[in-house]
Point group: C2
Chain length 469, copies 2
């Protein structure tokens, strides 16, 4: 049986029991798993287990696994670390196939007791054949199976698979990316990996037809050689993005604390990524930027950017950032400038590249024509717009989100080349209140939207490099 078939119940379980869920306190963190499964309308039997019994939102709470009448395929364990080994034995007796240990207090503490408990559940996993996810991880998000560890994740599936050692990072990446239009096939927060580890999940996602892009957040690797073969194969079949945590000496020490794994050498990772064609990023935010670029920014023919927006200082800044990442901002030939100037007043509209279109952008027909002329220019490969600064100014009777959408639609209408959109909030709370809804709306139309010049430039560069451009 291939790993794809063997691990299938992890991503498509038929029945679930939440063991250790709190009965008394509805705001306790253990409740979020129930909230998530309820909101996702998990279709199989869903059992709740707590020693005290009782009821939660009209659902019976069983006092033990054995008390449950039907089969239980998948257990999400919310019990304290010290109770983990006896739960494993109970699971074995019940015929459970998978146990996800969410709680901490195991090997990541670096202390004898926790290390011992983790070794014990690993041993029981080998003896009983039960597969274990975690401990100290958030588990599985598999929207197609209506399985989620977070009630706020979207129900729709996408093409991105994410394997994350850190639970916090798995949550953050999904929420950040979803806002910008990305959807996921499977997300795995695997924590200490006492049984199933990064390589198992990498092999699974490589074979999973629902996954086209694989994202890895790793702090260390358990089985070096097996991981390398798996990574090599993954990069042949899918696009792979890697964020390696614990790259510095102290960072590596921190990973020891976090998930009890060993970090590799920085130079090794760098060489590896170049050799296999892995897109290497340095922050979670960059993962989202690269995903947005891969999914929503059609590959341009080259590195020549036309920059169209508002604000003199912004024009200088965006040009500096784009050229810093090896993108080019070519001068416009005189005939293009003349064509633009024929319907564009001089004051407040600087007709070079970057084009500072401060005064004219709200004349939509002219904007369409401008974009048409600019993207028709054979020396340009793609267009980047930065109209953020104009939003507050031109608001009038519209909301800023309406203006942003209008400007973006006009740009799309006029453009014959790929478009990237930068909407910067500059950490100004009132700008953020305008920008976030605009980012969500425009992203939902399938556009590549970024929060800063730097992030747009860096991720476009990474993707162009990935395709040897």
């Amino acid at each position: 049986m291939s790993i794809y078939e063997r691990l299938r119940p992890i991503f498509y379980p038929e029945s679930i029991a939440l063991v250790g869920i709190t009965v008394a306190n509805p705001t306790h963190w253990t409740r979020s798993f129930l909230d998530a499964l309820a909101r996702f309308e998990f279709q199989g039997p869903l059992y709740l287990v707590n020693l005290r019994g009782g009821e939660i939102e009209g659902r019976k709470v069983y006092r033990s696994l054995t008390e449950i009448p039907g089969c239980v395929e998948y257990v999400i364990s919310l019990v304290a670390a010290s109770a983990a080994p006896s739960l494993m034995k109970e699971c074995a007796a019940k015929g459970v196939k998978i146990v996800h240990f969410c709680t901490s207090g195991f090997g990541e503490t670096g202390e004898e007791e926790g290390i011992g408990l983790e070794a014990e559940i690993a041993k029981l996993a080998r003896e009983t054949g039960i597969r274990v996810i975690g401990p100290n991880g958030m588990g599985i998000y598999s929207p197609e199976a209506r399985l989620s560890f977070n009630p706020r994740f979207p129900k729709e599936s996408g093409f991105v698979g994410f394997i994350s050692q850190s639970g916090g990072n798995s949550r953050r990446l999904v929420l950040e990316s979803v806002w910008r239009g990305v959807r996921f096939s499977k997300v795995i927060s695997f924590g200490n990996a006492c049984d199933l580890n990064e390589t198992d999940f990498l092999e699974y996602l490589t074979e999973d037809p629902k996954t086209r892009i694989i994202v890895l957040y790793l702090e260390g690797v358990k089985e070096g050689n097996r991981f390398l073969s798996a990574l090599k194969r993954a990069t042949r079949e899918k696009t792979v993005i890697l964020l390696k945590g614990g790259v510095t000496q102290g960072g590596a020490q921190a990973t020891l604390g976090h998930t009890g794994s060993l970090a590799g050498n920085e130079t090794t990772w760098d060489a590896l990524c170049r050799q296999y064609g892995v897109i290497r990023v340095t922050s979670l935010e960059e993962i989202t930027d690269v995903l947005v670029t891969l999914l929503f920014f059609p590959l341009p023919k080259g590195r020549n950017a036309i920059l169209l927006g508002a604000g003199g200082g912004s024009s200088v800044e965006i040009t500096d950032k784009f050229e810093k990442y090896g993108l080019r901002v070519p001068s416009l030939p005189q005939d293009i400038i003349d064509r633009l100037r024929s319907f564009t007043p001089a004051a407040g509209n600087i007709l070079r590249n970057p084009i500072d279109y401060g005064q004219n952008i709200m004349e939509i027909e002219k904007l369409i024509e401008t974009v048409n002329i600019l993207t028709g220019y054979r020396g340009s490969d793609f267009l980047v717009t930065f109209f953020g600064a104009a939003l507050a100014v031109y608001q009038g009777n519209n909301t800023s989100t309406e203006i942003s959408e209008k400007l973006h639609q006009a740009t799309v209408k006029g453009s014959s080349k790929p478009i990237a959109v930068v909407l910067a909030h500059d950490n100004l709370p009132n700008m953020a209140a305008l920008i976030f809804p605009a980012v969500e709306k425009i992203s939902a139309t399938g556009a590549a939207v970024y929060y800063s010049f730097e992030s747009a430039a860096k991720s476009i560069d990474l993707v162009l490099k990935h395709y040897h451009m």
Copy 2:
């Protein structure tokens, strides 16, 4: 007469006329100058001038400068570029000392007409002795004189002077920095600098006793040698921060469009900054970060950081970022760990450096004791907290702002060393809604607060380097 005395009326004008303010449309941009001066309660006579006359909010609108009965020292010109030369002549006749031309359509267009108009007003400035600010700039913010070009700037003064070629950047930097507790002595948005230029303002701020830190946003420099002498003197007497726009070839071309100035060579600027001890930054956001560090982060004795916060992934990330910038995250000795462990449960609290205090932070007395033990450790020079991820989790009946304040107060209470606070919103709109008010409140207590691990690490490194540490 020293430049300090000569330029005094620019920052402390006794009377102002707004020429070219729109009468009909209350939301027109020209009205923002009136809004600003009204909100700031400018104390001297304030006249409004528009060819058509009439009234704005109960104030008489004169048809011309000459119609005004009293003296006018300072004119803010909002008229079209083509009308600028005749206004200069009218100003000369009226005895005006300073004219700030706000409007664009001059040299920055790169076109004959605009270049000609700018040369004409420069010539008239030399002939009449009127000093000109701009054109194509926002002018002066001098809160002590109740003079502002933006109604949203704060009325209180501070110690930071900002000289900015770009109007948009002057607005952004003030708003971003003010949110984080910074206040300004003077801000100058000087645009094309056809008369008064960056060097004049640099000399003025160097002599201004109200200014302790000088920030420069420059795209180019008009008088190279004079500027170098002024910069050298400025760095001897004050702390100087420089953001140079137009560092790449294309960026330099963009500065040509923006303010018609010539950008220098990148290597020259770098060498210059090192030689004179200028703090060189690469973005506006970094200026704010460095200002916050200079003003609110007492200089630590060394580079050893204690990192205390919540979240395993975050712990790894902050360590990586801090070590990337040459800050050290030393291991804790066993006796410190033992003292912490005596009152800290193992599950969810990782007692290394970084300290992942996920489970315990809301026990305030324990937090104070933990901070006390950590900062009492002789191997540590300063403390960095990152409790952002915990806010959403521990909310309960408090608002997140209350929790942040409570955690911060406990940290301050327990700490014997300088503290930096990181509150990251990760571009998650609901986190931003929690984080922004917390940043404002904690900053208002005189604390150094940053939006990301990277920005905290980078600016602390820049400031330590500045002091040769």
